[in-house]
Amino acid sequence: KVTDNSNFPLPGASIIIKNTTQGAVTDIDGDFTLEFSKRPATLVVSYLGFITKEIVIQNEKEIAITLESDEQKLDEIVVIGYGEVQRKDITGSVATVKPEEDRVAQSQSVESLIQGLAAGVYVQQNGNEPGAPASIKIRGLNSLTGNTEPLYVIDGVIVDSATEDTLDPLSGGNSYLAPQSGISGINPRDIESIEVLKDASATAIYGSRGANGVILITTKKGKSGKTKFNFTTLSRIGTVTNDIEVLDTETYTKYGNEVRANQGFNPLYYQYPDGSIAYFDTDEAFMIANANTIERIQGVDWSDDTYRLAYTRNYRLSASGGTDTGNYYIAGGYLNNEGTIPRSFAKSVDFVVNLNNDLSDKLKLATKVSATFVNNSASKGTDNLGGTNNNLVRQIISGSPILAFSDNINTDDFEEALDGPRAWIEDYDDLSKEVRVLGSLKLDYKLSDMFTYRVQFGADYRNKERKVWYGTGLFRGSQVNGEAGISTLQRFRYNLDNTLMFKKRINKNNRINGTIGAIIDQSQAQYTTNQAADFPNKDLRADGISFGQVFQPLFFNKQNESIVSFLGRFNYTLFDRYLFTATYRADGSSKFAEGKRWGHFPAFAFAWKLNEEPFLRKIESLSEAKLRLGWGLTGKQGIPNYRTLTPFGPTQSPYSNSEGGALTAIVPTNLANPDLTWETTSQYNAGFDLGFLDNRVTLTTDVYYKEISDLLLNVEIGPSTGFSNYYANQGDLINKGIEFSLSADVISNEKFKWTVYGNVAFNRNEISRLGLPPAPFGTQTYSAFLGRQISGGNYFKTEANIFIEGQAPGLFYGYATDGIISNDTELANAATFNGISPQLGDVNLVDQNNDGIINNTDLTIIGDPNPDFNYGFGSNVEYNGLSLGFFFNGVQGNQIANGNLLREGYADTNTTNIRKEAYFDAWRPTNVNGSYPRVGYNLAADTGFTDRLIEDGSFLRLSYITLGYDIPVKNDKFIESAYVSLSGQNLLLFTKYSGFDPEVNSFSFDPGRVGIDWNSFPNQRSFSLSLNLTF
């Protein structure tokens, strides 16, 4: 009989007579029978999760073997919400990511740590600037206009802040700063494991916030033994990759002259025989006669002039150890991540302390504190205007490649002209500083063998300041003689969890365990903004905000939020192979009005461990075969506070009295919707886990079907209401998909190890109900609404996405085109746009309703930003201390609306630079098959969104490749291990996308503007060297 140390039978344990092939497997009762050909014999008794034992049999007829559980095999324990289970007992869909050294060395954020490793978890970088946010979508798009980010929980502390940021420091004037957010406050090096809870049976325990999925992060703890130090350092060099090719100075001047010639005007430039170029004056004779005195223009390649090598340095030291009654893990580090643009960087310093103490036999205390200080400088500046002069990257591409070009310096029309990138680098600041402290105290009291009571207090404090400065070298700053804005965010969130955990083995065939609890979760956030302009002295930049002569009263806003919850989970295990889980959570949220405030979230799951069935137990190679079925409800309440009320707040500017003095002016700030309530997601999941050869090969498949109803939408409403939008529960969404992940230790012995792994996820989204009456959209009639207008300026001042009932969300909606009007026949058939007759060389807009006029009724669906599937795969080979690892990730079948082409892809009459092909392959009488419109075609801004902007966004990226060497230091008394690695990031990118990088989503966290590339930042290709020492 084989039992564990609490005397419970272990069914399925394997018993082999050493050095033979003879053996047996224990039955349900832990019993086995074995015949011996000779005695004494040595039995090898093994059971997953327990230390293998060898027993010498002399003459015994019956023996009782007790196996000790293997504490070292910690990876078999999986953290789930409010408790943990053994991996083999999981009933829900949970992906575990154990960060490995090579991977961690690449990652500066939690998001990049997960990217591509967990099936169905789609991580998307939202920019390539240092400190730019990434967004994570678990199992497709879970919302149409609300927050789609998962809930993060770090060691039981809710860190629900992925989209939280300071207010825009400069209100008014169309400014749009890209949010800086994502999950900060945790260093990838300190992460022990990440659990991604995907299906409802796993997430329902988080009730009202589980619908987008939950990411549980467990940080490292010390292990008993003497103190171990670990030091890591990394240096990285990055360069801009996939730069966009624009006209050089000489070609640019030819282009300018061609535009002028087409208009019947004098040229703008004159090129001398020696190749030098000057501004054209009077006539050619004059230019020749005064060749010696006329000043030549000085060309510049803005890309060369601006981009630089980006250096990153990262150091980290940790110490860990422990005794029988406690352990500790302490770490601290420094990161300096510079961008490819001068003055852009993200620096951080952080430390973390994890202490675990057994205060008594029954009382355990876990203490955790981590503090991070982040200092960011983003020199990019974004803007939802089409304006080139409000964005550095835009200027690098579109800036006239001539130094001291008047339009690069100042401007006539605020959407039209450029400031030099140099002015931007010199005279613009977007600086942020953040302090974040996470802390938690967790006390476990073992009431009895069956019950443990846990109280956990978790706190998350954030203090962020973001300041923006526009000096007079920039258009915006020159208009107002310098402009400064400072905004701050102070937020304190805490959760107090009271849980009672129980486990009981009723008899050999029946086990129960579970949790019940009551939780309170509150947050208080305080936002301020200060804004000033007109600075007599600008030396202090934004720090001198007090010296502005035009200033805005302090804007001060507080937001309080509370959630009260009751939860329970009950697991029942029958015969050790049938697992039942039921969970339930009730949440009350302050975001909803009384009567609408409580949500109830039940879930049920069943798992069947087939490999434990007698008929399969004989297949020795099969180490795991588990079928999981689950259903559950989860919710979402991710809307701003106070949306059921109408708060009265200040107008942007005060009104003035007859003397010009300020009068406080108060107006209602939003439209109340007292009927607001939870968005609920009902999810079915079926999964199958297979493991072979002691789980050297594992395969996991999940299929799911999610129905998200009463979507919390920020509904765009007719402005005749006095508001442009309001929050309402409207519409349903269906999400279905299938996920596979596979990993195999192809070769695994002392000297040689080879692992391959990969995953792929297919997801289909469909809007099943919108609750809107059908209305005409183009030539069709749909129940649909349009997304948000992309820009407020000249270019792309239109909505690009349409959300149609019965179709995938966020389809691209614009004008279809049919090449260029290249001959007279095509011209005769071409329609007029906005009263302007077409001409040869114009873009041929498709007249959907054949009325000869291109207008709103000709808009149609021109693309789909939703991918068919996304995937990741990699491999590691280790031989004698040398290792090689690589990882690819990819997305297939999505399209991108590259809004930048509106400027780069048309040789219009503007004084801005364009892509080479837009000039060389422009339609001309001599190039009637040109695929770009004629030089001087200037309707791109008016037509807005055409399928000329739609590009295939599929890509496959060699995310990293790493060569590592485990330096043999066995004889060294001081150093325990030393590992050095060289890696390259983003070395290969296979894509048809013509912009900087296909992994782009310019409007992070805005589901109303999906799949758009609007002034994105170039990506880097980089090489890094890292060293990891343990001593």
Binding site: S171, G173, D412, D413, E416, V480, N481, E483, A533, D534, G548, V550, F551, Q552, N557, E561, V564, G588, S590, E594, R597, Y642, L645, T646, F648, T651, Q652, S653, P654, Y655, S656, N657, S658, G660, G661, L663, A665, I666, V667, P668, L671, I717, G718, P719, S720, T721, G722, F723, S724, Y726, A728, P773, A775, F785, L786, Q789, G792, K797, N834, D942
Partner: protein
């Protein structure tokens, strides 16, 4: 534990706090005026969009070229700010009206506040109906149940406007009883006169002309013209004896409150950056000069021929130049030498006494012919000739005109007297499409041209602005079929 879940905004007020005290009500009224003054409405949009769309101005703004060339798109960059700002004003007035009409609290300023709320609501609907035709009529604060409102007829819209102005007339104070910059009873009379005059000039219904007269005559003599024309536009000389209703602006805060300075002031005219974006059309300037050579109002209205930049450079303007962005004159009425770049001080005169005299002249001519109409015209013409230093010959007093000639001349006179004061759109449309075609489209298309001038399309659509695309997409009771003709 439900009390834990009762979170209320701590840094914003609730409705009850605002409407339970006189000070609270005042701050809500200020909020109403600020909505009216917002850049989306009077601060910027009517200058950036409506001025060029009137057909009397050119704008070099690329983002609004569609409207400037009289091909306004339903998603025009200004249009999608104008309409929401106007309706947010309507909603704020509805909130005030509902709270005060139902209030039993003894608030001393209740009537005055209500009067102002009705006045602003009526003034906003009056602009809406003239820009867009019949519009959704909202008379109570929007709730989640009242999001979608169909367009009402033009008649119903006017009925509400008249009803509201009538209420305002009852509730508003008399001269001297309240703040100098707020409308009084006679402001409601002046507005009502304009409402009836607008209806009468479209229908030529004698009863309407009479109604217009009955209102206008009550304003007659209640205000006085400023001694000279030019001083009306001098900075600091605001809320004059001639002002009937004026929107107040001041250098408060650091958010742009109005774009009037950047839009009209020529580039480098002062030591700060401006656009000089909206400029009178060439024929607009020519017409005035040809009619009244030497009219001192020309000098007070236009910067023409050339100007000297702050750096001392002389820049040629129309008529000395007709190509390029400077092939136009500029409006001189909104100069602010000490503009801080962000917040303008210059008030916007919504209606002034000379306008009432113009209306009286027009009405009298329609009712009884020119004989008794001259007196009104000559009153402000006399003032126009009076520059303070010398008396100009033009504009000479009127006499000896037929009723027909008087009608034509009074419309021109409105342009000469009020150019750049946002009356052009209304005056070019209210006498019908034939008038608009003849006096705007044809005069422009046959007039002098530079390389920047657009040829205006001959289309009835330009009698109105399009309903913005955001309203059609967000309002379930308005579809593309309800869009204004031609859009």
């Amino acid at each position: 534990c439900d009390t834990v879940l009762d979170e209320q905004p701590e840094t914003f007020f609730n409705e009850e706090q605002i409407f339970s005290s006189e000070e609270g009500v005042e701050s809500a009224i200020n909020g109403l005026y600020q909505s009216f003054a917002d850049p989306g409405y009077h601060g910027s949009s009517i200058h950036g969009l409506v001025a060029p769309f009137s057909g009397k101005f050119y704008s070099n703004q690329g983002a609004s070229q569609d409207a400037t060339s009289l091909n306004c798109l339903p998603n025009n960059t200004w249009l999608i700010r104008l309409w929401p700002a106007m309706y947010s004003t309507i909603n704020v007035s509805n909130v005030i009206i509902q709270n005060l009409e139902n209030s039993t609290l003894p608030l001393a300023n209740k009537d005055i506040a209500l009067g102002q709320a009705y006045f602003i609501r009526a003034a906003t609907y009056f602009d809406l109906v003239r820009y867009f035709g019949g519009v959704p009529l909202k008379t109570s604060p929007t709730t989640a149940q009242t999001l979608h409102t169909p367009r009402s007829s033009v008649e119903d819209t006017y009925a509400l406007i008249i009803e509201d102005f009538e209420k305002a007339k009852q509730l508003l104070p008399n001269a001297g009883e309240y703040l100098i910059d707020r409308p009084i009873k006679t402001a409601a009379n002046a507005y009502l006169a304009k409402v009836y005059l607008t209806l009468a000039s479209a229908s030529n219904d004698r009863a309407m002309w009479q109604a217009a007269y009955d209102e206008a005559i009550q304003v007659y003599g209640k205000y006085t013209l400023t001694p000279t024309y030019a001083e009306l536009f001098e900075l600091g000389n605001e809320n004059t004896s001639e002002s009937i209703f004026e929107i107040q602006y001041g250098a408060n805060g650091a958010v742009r409150n109005s774009d009037v300075i950047r839009i009209y002031t020529l580039k480098d005219y002062y030591n700060y950056d401006t656009f000089g974006r909206v400029r009178p059309n060439k024929e607009t300037y020519d017409q005035h000069v040809n009619q009244y050579p030497g009219d001192p109002r020309i000098d007070a209205t236009f910067i023409a021929n050339s100007y000297t930049t702050v750096a001392g450079k002389v820049v040629k303007l129309y008529p000395a130049q007709s190509n390029g962005n400077d092939g136009y004159t500029a409006i001189k009425k909104y100069l602010e030498p000490n503009f801080n770049g962000t917040t303008a001080n210059t008030n916007l005169i919504k209606i002034r006494y000379a306008d009432v005299l113009l209306m009286l002249a027009e009405i009298e001519n329609e009712l009884n012919g020119p004989a008794n109409a001259y007196q009104y015209v000559n009153e402000f013409l006399t003032r126009a000739r009076n520059t303070g230093s010398s008396i100009a010959a033009e504009p000479a007093d009127w006499s000896g005109l037929t009723q027909e000639e008087f009608r034509e001349r009074i419309m021109y006179e409105r342009q000469y007297e009020l150019l750049g004061e946002n009356h052009e759109f209304f005056d070019t449309r209210r006498r019908g499409y034939e008038y608009f075609l003849r006096e705007v489209i044809e005069k422009h298309n046959n007039g002098p041209k530079g390389n920047r001038d657009f040829v205006y399309p001959v289309s009835v659509k330009n009698m109105l602005l399009p309903i913005p695309s955001i309203e059609i997409s967000g309002n379930q009771k308005i579809t593309q079929a309800d869009q204004n003709p031609g859009y």
